[in-house]
Structure formats: structure tokens, C-alpha cells
Symmetry: C2
Subunit: 146 residues, 2 copies
């Protein structure tokens, strides 16, 4: 069920973000670039769980469309801070809104109150999954003879 729902959301998100370079991933990078505290490519890569070599191509494409720029980091001349341009900022806002509508659309089977409950439960699971290492203590659990 989780897979079905996730795929439905991904499909909707891919559709909504298809005109952005890199699709959903490009949107995530753009989100990081819009943020107040600009980060370099390594930081964004860790945050998104993608390799830094992939980010090079991705940011190349975003930069070609004038959505983000590589700004030199005053503190470290090796590092480039990724910041959104004005075009990137408005593109991000438009896509964020479209994404929200798509999300509502995926959850349309639930009445409004249940959507809130679902979000709350999902957040508790997600927080728990992020704080702990998912595999570390799983090994003990899955063994039939524990």
C-alpha cells in the first residue's frame, strides 16, 4: 500500500515538475537554493542523499536555464554556494504551489480531518525513521530466533 501511494505521489510530482531540469530532484536542489542559508554542493548532496558528481550535471542544467547560480564562497575558495536567481525563486514558488495541489489530489480519498491525522502519523514515523539508523537494530528484529 505504501508503494502504491508513494508511486502515485511520485507520478504526480514528476508530472508537475517535468518542465524543471532534473524533475523532482531539480526541484529539491532549487528548494535548497531558495533557502536563506545558501549551501555548497557537498552539503546539498548530503541533504538530498545524492552523489556530488550528479549534482554537478544537475546544477549545470539549472544554471543554463538561469534558475540558480554558483556564487563563490567568501570563506572557502574551493566551495561554490548555490543560490536561486529571481527567475529560480518565482519558478520555485509556482512549482511548490502546483506540488501542493498535486498532493491534495493524491489524498483526495480522505476527508479533511483524516488528512490531518494521516499527516501527523506520517510525520511521527518519518521523524523516527530519520533519527535512528533504520538497519542498525533491524537485524535483531527480523531474525526468527531472537
Amino acid at each position: 500500500m505504501l508503494g502504491v501511494v508513494f508511486r502515485a505521489y511520485v507520478k504526480a510530482a514528476e508530472h508537475v515538475l517535468s518542465d524543471l531540469p532534473g524533475g523532482p530532484r531539480g526541484y529539491q536542489v532549487l528548494s535548497a537554493a531558495v533557502d536563506d542559508r545558501p549551501r555548497n554542493q557537498v552539503a546539498i548532496g548530503q541533504e538530498l542523499g545524492v552523489d556530488r558528481t550528479i549534482l554537478t550535471y544537475l546544477i549545470d542544467d539549472l544554471e543554463k536555464q538561469d534558475l540558480v547560480t554558483r556564487r563563490p564562497d567568501p570563506a572557502d575558495r574551493r566551495s561554490r554556494l548555490i543560490v536561486a536567481t529571481d527567475r529560480g525563486r518565482s519558478a520555485w514558488q509556482a512549482h511548490r504551489d502546483a506540488l501542493r495541489r498535486a498532493e491534495t489530489h493524491v489524498l483526495r480519498a480522505l476527508p479533511e480531518g483524516d488528512v490531518t491525522v494521516f499527516r501527523d502519523l506520517l510525520q511521527r514515523i518519518a521523524c523516527d525513521a530519520q533519527t535512528r539508523d533504520p538497519l542498525k537494530d533491524l537485524c535483531e528484529v527480523v531474525q526468527p530466533t531472537s
Copy 2:
């Protein structure tokens, strides 16, 4: 949040099913093979949303480990029905149980009652997503000027 939870589940599932050829996908094929009504490769492919060319390799690997067999279809000599062997059946049961424990583990942040609520909400969303074409009516929703 959906992505975080889904990835946590996938990671746990991959770990639990890693000794099966094809990992989670191999398990899904095995599940179809265990079913009472055996299907051919095209039917399984449609059910799982994978290409039939991939199934050829996947079933090759499962057959090599004596988990499933290609049985001739008495109704159509072109078609091969995929059925689980005895080994495949017991392997499936063991992995199904391990998967259930892994699932419980992912949801361990929720008290038992909330797990039931979460499952129920998820099922309603999933059913809705499966019955309708996710993209068909999405186009009208995401347009800012509708």
C-alpha cells in the same frame, strides 16, 4: 515525509529480501507464483508494472535456485505459467514473515492503535489511487488558472 517513510521501508525490505534473486522484485514474482491462480509472464509483468523482458532474466534466476518453475500452459502453448516449487513456497513464507517484522519495525514510533488507523488511511488512499488514473484528472487540478 512520504519519501522518508517509503525509503525506510524499502531499505528494510531490501535488507530482509537481499538473499532472494532480484531482491524485493524477486519476492513479488515469488508471491505471484505462490498464488492459487498461476499466471503467465505478461500477466505478472502487468501486475507488477515491470517489462516482460526484465521478467525473463528475473525468472531465470529464480528458476536456477529452484524457487519457481515455468509450467506449460495447457490452454496456450506460447505461454508459460509461473508456479512456485515447494522450496519457493517455504522461502516465500519465511520472507513474508520477516517482511512483516520489518514493517512493524518501521512503524514502531506509533502505538498499536495508531498503526491500525495509519493502515486504514493508507489503504483508502491506495485503493483510490489504484482505481483511478492518477494523471488523467490531475492536469485540471494543477493548473493555476482552471
